[in-house]
């Protein structure tokens, strides 16, 4: 194992150099950074049953191939693409076909529900007002944090994956299309639906103080 006790892994070039040199600390660093998101991608593509296995296979592939990483994309995109490919390969092996609609699910009662609009598209129900619109105040609310995380865990897998990759990991729409094998327009719809669902969680929290 290379001696890299004082390496600054916030610098991607230094992190990649350490990974290539076989530094276990560098590998632990990327596991901490990406494991969570990799599981979300694996669940979105291959389903819950195979997700853990897919992520382990992806890590083994990353471990074997990191020395040959040519930096045509960022390290994060390279890793997310590997887990996406592993998940798709697993799906093919298991001969299962999961459609985007199946993964996305229906959401009656959402902001996009037809029941909220008249035939001409005018909104029936008003948008609820909030007691506080201060981001600082909302960030301090621990109950809201619990509600958001609870809801995130029950979002349809494709929505959650698209949302996490876009709004949390800040990946480009093009990279997300490549990772999830979904069109750019559909990725935008998935991200939008996820945001609206999370907005409704804040609506309920503002009104009731609970989830």
């Amino acid at each position: 194992m290379a001696n890299a006790n004082h390496t600054d892994f916030s610098d991607e070039q230094k992190l990649i150099a350490a990974l290539r040199a076989g530094d276990d600390r560098a590998f632990c660093e990327i596991i901490k950074r990406f494991q969570h998101t990799m599981l979300i991608i694996a669940r979105a593509i291959a389903g819950d049953t195979f997700a853990d296995d897919v992520v382990q296979d992806a890590w083994v592939a990353i471990y074997k191939n990191i020395a040959a990483f040519e930096q045509r994309s960022s390290l994060k995109t390279w890793i997310m693409t590997i887990v996406g490919n592993e998940a798709k390969a697993r799906l093919r092996r298991e001969s299962r076909k999961i459609s985007l609609d199946e993964l996305d699910g229906e959401q009656p009662g959402s902001y996009l529900d037809n029941a909220n609009f008249a035939a001409d598209g005018h909104r029936f129900a008003p948008i609820p007002s909030w007691r506080s619109e201060s981001p600082e105040e909302l960030l301090e609310a621990q109950q809201l944090q619990r509600c958001i995380n609870k809801t995130l865990n029950i979002l349809p897998p494709a929505q959650k994956a698209a949302f996490m990759l876009r709004d949390i990991e800040q990946q480009s729409f093009e990279d997300i299309c490549e990772i999830l094998q979904v069109s750019s327009a559909n990725i935008r719809v998935l991200v939008h639906r996820a945001r609206l669902t999370l907005l409704q969680v804040i609506d309920r929290f503002q009104e009731t103080g609970a989830c």
Binding site: I31, Q56, V60, Y63, I127, S129, R146, D167, R195, I202
Partner: protein, 92 residues
């Protein structure tokens, strides 16, 4: 899934429903200049949709921070040991 959004581009005046479908595109600045103008025109006249856009922007700002605060601790060393075992087993 996208038929609805395609028909929006042909409209001269957008409805609340159109704006609800386009809200993320608008706050992400992914709408064309023309569509952006149509949305802004609707927002000028519609307090409800202005509130939706405002709340969506706040949601987009705070949710990532709330999620990151709650991410579980990962035992990276254990995972690394598992990766090495799996790699060695596959080579045998």
């Amino acid at each position: 899934m996208l038929t609805k959004n395609k028909s929006i581009f042909k409209k001269h005046i957008l409805s609340c429903k159109d704006v609800a479908h386009l809200a993320s595109e608008y706050i992400d600045k992914n709408t064309s200049r023309k569509l952006n103008w149509k949305i802004r025109l609707h927002l000028l006249a519609c307090g409800c949709c202005r509130r939706l856009i405002r709340h969506l922007k706040i949601t987009q700002l705070i949710v990532p921070q709330l999620i990151k605060k709650n991410e579980p601790e990962i035992d990276a060393e254990l995972i690394l040991r598992q990766i090495k075992n799996r790699k060695n087993n596959s080579q045998e």
